[in-house]
Amino acid sequence: MKILVVDDFSTMRRIIKNLLRDLGFTNTEEADDGTTALPMLQSNHYDLLITDWNMPGMQGIDLLRKVREDQNETLAKIPVLMVTAEQKREQIVEAAQAGVNGYIVKPFTAQTLKEKLDKIFERIEG
């Protein structure tokens, strides 16, 4: 299980990586915005993408759209979990329409992350 964590703040990436490790996911890589993340996603196989929304360069919502439009069918279907401080209803709806698999608002707890991950993997396996 390889996970890509995308956030422009290194502290947030570290927090997410630590929480993931605690949940047993030790194979994680990092990117600081969509522009860096997209080529990584296109050249390597990841099982899950966790991304922030508001980032310089390419924002998380645009990264999500680019991933869903990708020629590579496996990449286009990768589960995407958004972890963001954006909590406007219209934005959550926008992310849902763009094909997000889970949406977590910051600040969040380890329990929330676990629940959302369980839900995403449950759906994939089911």
Partner: protein, 246 residues
């Protein structure tokens, strides 16, 4: 400058003089009357301009524009920017110091946890009289090692907890800095309100709203942001998504 004041007996007499001078071919006399009239009009214009200039100057002085506003723009705003950058730096340092201490502590906790689980397992077997003499000797030395290593590990753990504790010292500093910047923002706000009053400008609420909707909202600050179209937490996000069929 009112034209009504311009038509008075004195000026009518001047115009009659002018007509008479011209009819008599008295060029000098005619010119004198015209100069007279022109200078009178000019002086009224200058008076009006003078009055307006004085009013403008008084208004600007009352507004305190010449000193404080220049000072704010030249000095206080760049200063506030530096201060806020310092806040970012301090909070970043604190977060990283905390994370370092936590990341260093996790493996220690895991070691303690795993060794304790293993020893507990052996101990259960011992109380059930399932251990041979050799196994008991092994358990005994393992137990000795475990107890010995505990004090080393707890020293490191305590040290890390202390690091986490000390990393929180940013709150006091950043709190003071942010308060200072808030004070400056209030002063700028007051001055801007005065300026708007002075210029008699209407407020452009519509434009403001349009500009707001173009940028990302970011974290909702209680009491500042309109909560109306935002969710208040993860539960509401989940409700909204499940209403969309998630």
């Amino acid at each position: 400058m009112s034209d009504n004041n311009f038509i008075n007996d004195e000026n009518i007499a001047r115009v009659r003089d002018l007509l008479a001078s011209m009819e008599n071919g008295d060029e000098e006399g005619a010119k004198e009357v015209v100069d007279d009239l022109t200078s009178m009009r000019e002086s009224t214009l200058y008076q009006e301009m003078g009055k307006l200039t004085r009013e403008l100057h008084d208004a600007i002085s009352a507004f305190g524009m010449d000193d404080r506003i220049t000072d704010i723009a030249e000095h206080d705003i760049p200063d506030a920017r530096e201060r806020l950058n310092y806040v970012i730096q301090k909070t970043d340092e604190a977060a990283n110091r905390t994370l370092e201490a936590v990341e260093e502590s996790f493996p220690l906790c895991e070691e303690i946890e795993n060794q304790a689980a293993d020893l507990n397992n052996q101990w259960q077997r011992f109380t059930n009289r399932e251990l041979s003499a050799d196994e008991f000797r092994a358990l005994s030395s393992q137990l000795g090692e475990y107890l010995g290593s505990q004090s080393e590990k707890t020293v490191v753990l305590k040290d890390n907890l202390n690091k986490v504790l000390m990393a929180q010292d940013f709150q006091d500093l950043t709190g003071q800095i942010i308060k200072k910047v808030i004070k400056l923002v209030e002063e700028v706000e007051d001055n801007l309100v005065e300026l708007i009053k002075l210029a008699g400008l209407p407020e452009h609420e519509e434009q403001q709203q349009k500009r707001d909707s173009e940028k990302l909202a970011g974290p909702v600050v209680p009491g500042v942001d309109d909560i109306g179209d935002s969710v208040s937490g993860q539960d509401e996000v989940d409700d909204l998504l499940s209403s969309l069929g998630f």
